[in-house]
Point group: D2
Chain length 309, copies 4
């Protein structure tokens, strides 16, 4: 496996990347790369609004496809992309990298293997160290499609079944500017799953102690819980208290390993002709749940995911 070519809307960025990693070719236009018969697979890491078109083009060109989440912000665009993939019979893997984190994977495996029996309650905590710039908030699609989408994926990944209904409580607590931009920064969503599991997800745009990424799965035979990862395992006992360093600060530190693993598994699936671990359907569902969560907040009532078309 070799990286054959790189394309970037900013050509200098593509040039730097090619130089740094010894990539032999630069494509000005991504379609040039997508239509290159020497290339077997593409990774689409451009801005969200370009994902669906590039997926469709790549599928038609018979390429195996890795694409960053979300596929698109509109379900119709997602469906068009998935349709193209289906017709072309190519593989598609969506970049929900957290599925490849060793903590989440361990909890997933314990649930899948019934180490905690039947899952009854699933709790997901996901808090960022600080909010993105307001300019970004305005175009992000909102907390549900930008931030909690990862947690909707995690919920489906760990529960192993579909989300049926959601109920949202939200607030602007971190920064009034986020409210003025039409978004919220603090949210708790309750989920009902098809197999009777009850879930809660809580999000905050600012945890002063760093990136807070935890999950707890409670079931008939026990509980599996993951804690945050720390930069070291040192404890300092002093005259006033016992201290530890804060957890790893943000996704770059916390999820480095998972980014490497997700691409490695994509390549292995392509080479071994196996199904990808995060499918197009897995890319679609969190977007639908995100719309349901938003509607629940707006209409102050539980909303079935099936209401979202």
């Amino acid at each position: 496996m070799k990286v054959a070519a790189v394309s970037d809307i900013f050509e200098s960025a593509a040039q730097k990347c090619a130089a740094d990693y010894g990539i032999p070719k630069i494509a000005k236009d991504p379609l040039e790369l997508i239509n290159d018969p020497e290339i077997d697979a593409v990774a689409i890491c451009s801005s969200t609004d370009t994902h669906a078109d590039l997926i469709i083009a790549a599928a038609r060109a018979g390429k195996q496809i890795f694409c960053e989440k979300p596929i698109a912000l509109g379900l119709d665009r997602i469906d068009a992309a998935l349709d193209a993939v289906g017709k072309a019979g190519v593989k598609l893997q969506i970049g929900f990298n957290r599925r490849f984190d060793s903590n989440y994977r361990r909890v997933h495996d314990l649930v899948r293997d019934k180490a905690i029996g039947d899952l009854h309650i699933l709790r997901i905590t996901s808090r960022d160290p600080s909010p993105p710039p307001i300019a970004y908030v305005k175009v992000s699609g909102g907390i549900f499609l930008d931030m909690m989408i990862h947690d909707f994926d995690m919920a489906r990944y760990i529960a192993g079944c579909e989300v049926e209904e959601v109920y949202t409580v939200g607030a602007v607590r971190v920064d009034p500017e986020i409210g003025k931009a039409g978004d919220i920064d603090t949210a708790v969503v309750t989920l009902k799953f098809t197999d009777g599991v009850i879930g809660t997800i809580d999000n905050s745009r600012r945890a002063v102690y760093g990136y807070d990424q935890r999950v707890e799965a409670f079931g008939s035979l026990g509980m599996a819980e993951s804690a945050n990862r720390r930069p070291n395992e040192v404890r300092l006992s002093g005259g006033a208290d016992v201290r530890e360093d804060l957890p790893l600060n943000f996704f770059v530190e916390r999820y480095t390993e998972s980014y490497v693993t997700e691409l490695k598994e994509f390549v292995e699936c392509v080479i071994g002709n196996r199904p990808t671990p995060v499918t197009g359907h897995d890319g679609r569902m969190p977007v639908a749940i995100g719309y349901a969560a938003k509607r629940s907040l707006d209409e102050h009532r539980p909303v079935a995911v099936s209401e979202i078309k």
Copy 2:
């Protein structure tokens, strides 16, 4: 301070108690004890349906009153009792013992002292090691008034403000017999507080690993979280994994200290003529929230606590 007399519907139990603890007097009828002019204060620990009448009698007799929770299952009975207490000008303390647990108190103090800044999200986990007998479930008032009532109190205690609205998702996952008895055994309730805090409470009637009693308070400047207490601090590293003993199994072990402290503080408040740490209002509100939670489950919608009369 001395225990002057004891009364029990089963006289032999009163006799044994008097013998074991050197209590000089047994009263067949609790009113005998309540109307004894030598007695300054009474602790009402009889069955729930007798609480309100005994509170009213004790208040009229000018006694200081400690009463186990709940005051009554009907808000009208509670209000009658509180009215009598108010008119008599006596003290009333309700037996929400968990407020006196060193873990919950520490989290409460940190929130009160703004060590975590403004509280944004409050999470309470409360799971029993095993469900009560079905016969008890039938007369218990249901999971919200029997079990989660403690958590509603905890929510108000830690948040330091009132619960405004609740939304309930519940299920029968532990034992179908509980469902046949008209109750549920697994519940997640989302709470909105008057000052904008969002809370979640999850209950299960059976955690195979023991009594699971934790709280997490997340705010603008940090997070305070309490873990379960363990019988020892030993870790065993073996060839397969690292093991610790299960947490303390149930309320008798976990909350021993809190039962002692709550009565000690009641006595100190009476002697020092200070307000009690858990008032009649504190006894009333969790019952109202419990009814709101039940209505939310039944009507599949968020319910304002103010709807409950």
Copy 3:
């Protein structure tokens, strides 16, 4: 079982104790109490220099005996006391309370039950929150007989065999006054046991973070380690670090439970006519090891415990 009488060199202390706990009789002279035919057992908690004589008197009077550690500072006095106990055929239990602490007991049981296989290395940490007054240091018998004696007992208790040889490194690091009083305040002792176990004990007269009492048992099949007990299980995550409260500060808080349990077990052994859990031999050996540790420090060489006569 009832407490029949109390004696104290300060009569007012005996009077207060009798009043507080409803003890019917005060004896001016402890021999009065020891020779009272109505009394079955005595607990000797007076100053160390009186222990041996009182044990001898109690043994001759046929009493079952609980005695605080150490039996005496001289091995000849200890042997005289044990001899009297042996001839009288009465029970003797020495007050090594830490054997009854739930943490140490758990580690002991895991070692005894071979949960860690054969014990290879035993590490004991024992650090006080602050040194005793210099006046006390001068009469204490020194760090080995006053403080580390508990750890020598713990070493034998957990290893389940005898200490054969010790090597001591010590220093005055906490307070030069301790050095002027002829003692040290920081010590590390290496132990060789009869069955090949290697042990280390470290003591400091001052750990600013509180009472540090831990043990680690490493063996062919694993490791058991006990951590300090804390006043609560709360963690506070803030903008700078994650904090926990300091461990329980000193022996009164840390070992409350063990003091209750040791006396309870003594009473049960007397009533059930079973051997006591801490024998006279268990009281003698830590003193002998203490002398060996002191000689090792003085002579700068490993010292066999058998050298101590």
Copy 4:
């Protein structure tokens, strides 16, 4: 900075390495590489008996030198190598990689910055998951020069001063074959440092629960302790106990990061013309301490490091 050439006694290994990492040149003879004027620095990672000669050759050729530990097993060979380095005025860094581990570095920094005040007691635990093959044990130089040498370096690194005297207790507990090969597999060494710190190191060739690498620094103002690193932060609470996965199994997993960092820092020191973080003296001292520890075991007495010539 670029890797210019690679040399290996097995030419095919050098070829594979060159191919995998795009290294342009292979040298059959390491001297060819050492004497190449295009090359600025060399990393000597060959077998121990070749280190000193290659250091001398590289120093004479004016190369900056990174060399794996130990420099040599003989102090005379070490001194010859250090002499050549000194005369040539080149940099030398010895491969004590653990100094670059984030846990040890954090403890080191806390000690250096006096966060625990003056260091009083230093405890180092270092246990391998399983012993090396007997064939290796026979040529390894023994546990003190092969395994504990890392801990002697760690002791000096954290204490920030020199080891003055050692006392060793050792045993064959893991495998009798190790004893037949003239070595021991379990050892506890007590260290006295020049500034009054007392240290203990314990080693075992087999910890069934994996690679056990911890340090505890106790001082006048507190304690810093590092725990083992784990593959994930998941806890599983079941009906019998609470479980965590074992720590990272061996040095490849545990110290990956440190191997990368040590070479990165070497390169930065060369480029920035700064002193290396692990000097030739740092490479020499652990070997001397190792010989002292061995002599202490053989002669059953404390041995001053200054006795080793």
